[in-house]
């Protein structure tokens, strides 16, 4: 009876794993093979078993309609950068100023700045380059009077391209800093 219950729970784990996320395992149970020649006994901890986890994600809504209103400059959130550049271009000055004004007049609102890069090269090095773009936006906002405590600059590197082709027009769209407000991250 005990063996049946153990078998049932193993089968349940296997089937649930297959249902939720993992591919079929070719009838292969993950229990360790005993090695009689070395006299090793099974330790009881199944080190080859992998339990699937779902990460979930945070998606929220903003309380300030002007941030979403297409007629408001505040609905525009992206600053694009040149290749290998981490300097905010003049054409984005008014956009950054508008967001700085909103943040200084709403000191309880927080902003997450996400830096992005194109896909070429190492993912982790690109993550560090994306951070430089996010930091450039953050620095511009603090110079305009926004409190450091309202801002967090992070990088998504090459992981979240807004455009998926391997072309220069696409790559330039992916070299950007995005501004997200409380409730949006």
């Amino acid at each position: 009876m005990k063996y049946i219950r153990v078998a049932l729970s193993l089968i349940t784990v296997g089937l649930l794993a297959a249902c939720t996320s993992s591919p079929p395992t070719d009838g292969q149970s993950a229990v360790a093979v005993e090695d009689r020649s070395s006299g090793a006994a099974s330790s009881g901890v199944d080190n080859s078993r992998v339990v699937p986890v779902d990460a979930g994600s945070a998606d929220g809504k903003s309380a300030y309609p002007e941030l979403k209103d297409p007629k408001s400059v505040l609905s525009k959130r992206s600053v694009l950068f040149d290749y290998d550049s981490y300097v905010i271009k003049d054409q984005y000055r008014s956009l950054v100023e508008a967001h700085a004004k909103f943040l200084t007049s709403h000191p309880n609102v927080k902003m997450l700045i996400q830096g992005n890069t194109d896909e070429r090269g190492s993912r982790e090095y690109n993550l560090a380059l994306g951070q430089k773009r996010a930091d450039a936006v953050k620095k511009a906002l603090t110079l305009l009077g926004v409190s450091e405590g309202q801002l967090e600059s992070v990088s998504l590197g090459e992981e979240k391209p807004s455009c998926g082709d391997a072309s220069e027009s696409c790559w330039s769209a992916n070299r950007r800093g995005d501004m997200l407000y409380s409730g949006e991250f």
Partner: protein, 427 residues
């Protein structure tokens, strides 16, 4: 009770049938694209009694040895050769094999089987060793990998890596899965599924945990995840970005990259996230740390203008520049013996896996592809696993340290990326 189990199984199986059909295409398939120059001819006779198993153990052994690129399989015909019968050396020699294995699979009670095998040197007509294992019938694959490891080690003098596992990220549509598979790509299991990217998986030295970067909180956060329980904890979630985890050789600390004090810089933390310490300082980007077994931390830095490889003593000290050729050298990984370094270099717009002999300072480009990323050594140092692109799709590939043996692992649909070769199992 039996009836309840059957009813339960039937209903679950029905629910799962569709899901299983669609998931079958997520299985990694392996393809050999290059082999060694002088492959040793080896024969694995069919084991006596192995037809009682779901699949032949010797199929797994032959596939493993063949895939290593070091052996050429010699056919001995369908008739099995048992472990205890005196071997027919003449027959084996006439087929041209230098070494051969014979074996017997026999019931050992409670539905289990004993697999006994022996390896012979065909020329000297001597036994090179034997082993016996007890297994459940569906463990034929695990047993086959262990037999292949035994044969590989007896014939090459180095440990085999057929029983190891690999981690990688599968992206299919908007879904990211951190998967664990056997080194031959079979038996893939999902450790983490997410709608947001997952990068930089790193195996703990004992193979029980993975550290990785997940973007599920809309920013990069480093987690440590116990595979057998699914339990995970945040190892680094400071203000700013947290990334590039690398385990210390004793498995107690992680080198990580944090931006809490400004630009991307190297720190170390305990695996539970406590005890943060600075590892190095520069005015540029420092990232991609990798701990060597001989006391160094290798990393990528653009402190000199372009991204190059540097190292610092793990206990603290001045940084030394390691790479000098070319304007883009990233993602360093020291070999298990600390004598060489593999990394990605940009050569005329192509990103390629490159090997540096730290003693002689000689470099060798190991691949002929153009978008290589994330190299990692097999635990015996013989092969390097990396991500690349074929036909616009992400695939995994492996290349031997001398550049001769080449394999490719891909899925039918979806991108595979961010591979990490796990350590030797400690069972």
């Amino acid at each position: 009770m039996t009836q309840r189990i059957l009813t339960f199984l039937r209903s679950t199986a029905t629910v799962c049938a569709l899901a299983l059909a669609s998931l079958a295409q997520a299985q990694l398939s392996i393809e050999i694209t290059g082999a060694g120059a002088n492959r040793m001819p080896v024969a694995i006779a069919s084991f006596e009694g192995e037809n009682a198993l779901p699949r032949a153990v010797t199929d797994v052994v032959r596939a493993d040895l063949e895939r290593s690129g070091l052996f050429k399989m010699v056919e001995l015909g369908p008739s099995p050769m048992g472990a205890d019968a005196p071997p027919d050396f003449g027959r084996v020699r006439s087929r041209g094999a230098d070494a051969f294995a014979v074996g017997t699979v026999a019931p050992s009670g409670s539905g289990r089987y004993q697999v006994q095998f022996r390896l012979f040197d065909a020329a000297k007509q001597v036994s090179l060793g034997s082993q016996a294992m007890v297994m459940a019938p569906n463990q034929y694959r695990t047993t086959g990998h262990r037999i292949a490891d035994f044969i590989y080690e007896k014939l090459t003098g180095e440990p085999g890596v057929f029983s190891t596992r690999i981690a990688y990220v599968l992206k299919s549509g908007p879904r990211y899965e951190l998967q664990i598979a056997d080194a031959d790509g079979s038996n893939a299991q999902t450790a983490l599924a997410s709608k947001e990217p997952i990068i930089s998986p790193a195996w703990s030295p004992d193979g029980t945990r993975l550290a990785y970067v997940s973007f599920e909180a809309k920013k990069p956060v480093v987690y440590v995840h116990s595979l057998a329980t699914g339990q995970r904890n945040v190892a680094a979630n400071f203000k700013g970005s947290n990334s590039a985890p690398a385990w210390s050789p004793d498995g107690r600390r992680l080198a990580v990259v944090l931006t809490k004090d400004g630009q991307s810089q190297l720190y170390s933390v305990n695996a539970d996230g406590s005890g943060v310490q600075r590892l190095a300082s520069s005015s540029g980007i420092d990232t991609e740390p990798a701990w060597s077994t001989d006391g160094w931390i290798y990393f990528t830095s653009d402190r000199g203008g372009s991204p190059q490889i540097y190292r610092v003593p793990a206990g603290g000290g001045d940084a030394q520049r390691v790479s000098f050729e070319g304007g883009y050298n990233v993602s360093p990984r020291p070999s298990p013996d600390g004598k060489s370094l593999v990394y990605v270099s940009r050569n005329g717009g192509r990103f390629q896996v490159t090997m540096l002999d730290l003693g002689s300072r000689q470099t060798q480009i190991l691949t002929d592809s153009a978008k290589d990323e994330s190299p990692s050594f097999a635990p015996n140092g013989r092969m390097v696993l990396y991500a690349t692109e074929v036909g616009g799709r992400g695939v995994l590939a492996a290349v031997s340290s001398d550049g001769r043996v080449k394999q490719r692992l891909s899925v039918q649909s979806g991108d595979v990326r961010e591979p990490a070769w796990g350590p030797q199992p400690r069972n």
